[in-house]
Symmetry: C2
Subunit: 155 residues, 2 copies
DNA sequence: GCCTAAAATTTCAAGCTTGAAATAAAATTC
DNA sequence: GAATTTTATTTCAAGCTTGAAATTTTAGGC
């Protein structure tokens, strides 16, 4: 590697690090605000919202391990969050035909109604918090973020 | 609001939501991979790394509430993470002159050495995980992300 | 100087999160 | 068919995180 190559690589490395820190700052602050509003206005939490959102997209329900894969969290975490949603009457577990190990988590009618209200607010809040981006900028960012990082980082 | 305005607003709202979900996916997957590598290769955690990084930038140390403000986490959280860093000999608490309530957290020599190694790997990993962005794209993203969202969302 | 309000940190309860162990059930191999 | 391996979920220990209460200390008002 020539000296110019090294300097160039080091510069790019620093730029990517700054980009990463900027991304973290943006998503961190939005996430913190989402958590605050979910707690204050709906008495719920972001992980519960995430689980409900996943189940809302699958009206027939999801197996616990499907849910953990979909949300990219551990099986144990999903067990705990679904436990609490079930205790609150917003979700239920039903048996999976043909496999007594497996269970399907599903939103109840109450859960669907609650999520419908949450989803409206959630979209409105995100729209509000990203109002610095107009349609062109948002589409541009989406294109930049999707083309180069399909599938996220490699382990 | 005319119908065209409404349609336009709804479209922009959906685009911002899609942008948000894309940002979350990207930062979530990078963060998860960082956590995994920090644990496997350094036996540490991301919150500890964050605290060490903050203290590394302030060689004289930071007061506990300064640290919680800097990292945008609660005072209780900072207490716990600094406790564990102190137990591991990587940080220490020293009295703050003139105010017996306050304490200053500071990296020890061992902590500084450990952080030096962590920082090198951290930058290398980020560089690796964002290698889909060349210098132009990274600079462009930085510009887009910084101009429109200075200071993050408003509460 | 005494009293009250504010500040700095820790403690606490509750929720979240991981990764591994435990348990029960299904699949595979022989 | 029995034994072994794999799978699905829960349980567990450890760490993280919040926001409020508790405690100690400082600052300000009278």
């Amino acid at each position: 590697m020539t000296l110019d190559e090294k300097i160039s690589t080091d510069t790019l490395s620093k730029t990517r690090l700054r980009l990463w820190l900027r991304l973290l700052k943006l998503t961190g602050s939005i996430e913190a605000e989402l958590r605050r509003r979910l707690r204050d206005q709906h008495g719920t939490t972001l992980p519960r919202f995430d689980v409900m959102a996943a189940l809302a997209r699958h009206p027939e329900g999801l197996k616990m391990s499907e849910l953990s894969t979909f949300l990219r969290v551990s099986n144990g975490n999903v067990t705990g969050v679904v436990d609490r949603l079930t205790e609150d009457g917003l979700a239920c577990r039903v048996a999976f035909p043909g496999d007594r190990r497996a269970q399907v988590a599903r939103l109840t009618e109450a859960g669907k109604a609650e999520f419908a209200a949450l989803a409206v607010d959630h979209e409105s809040w995100i729209n509000d918090m990203l109002d610095g981006f107009d349609e062109d900028e948002a589409q541009h960012l989406l294109a930049l973020l999707s083309a180069s990082t399909e599938g996220g980082p490699r382990p």
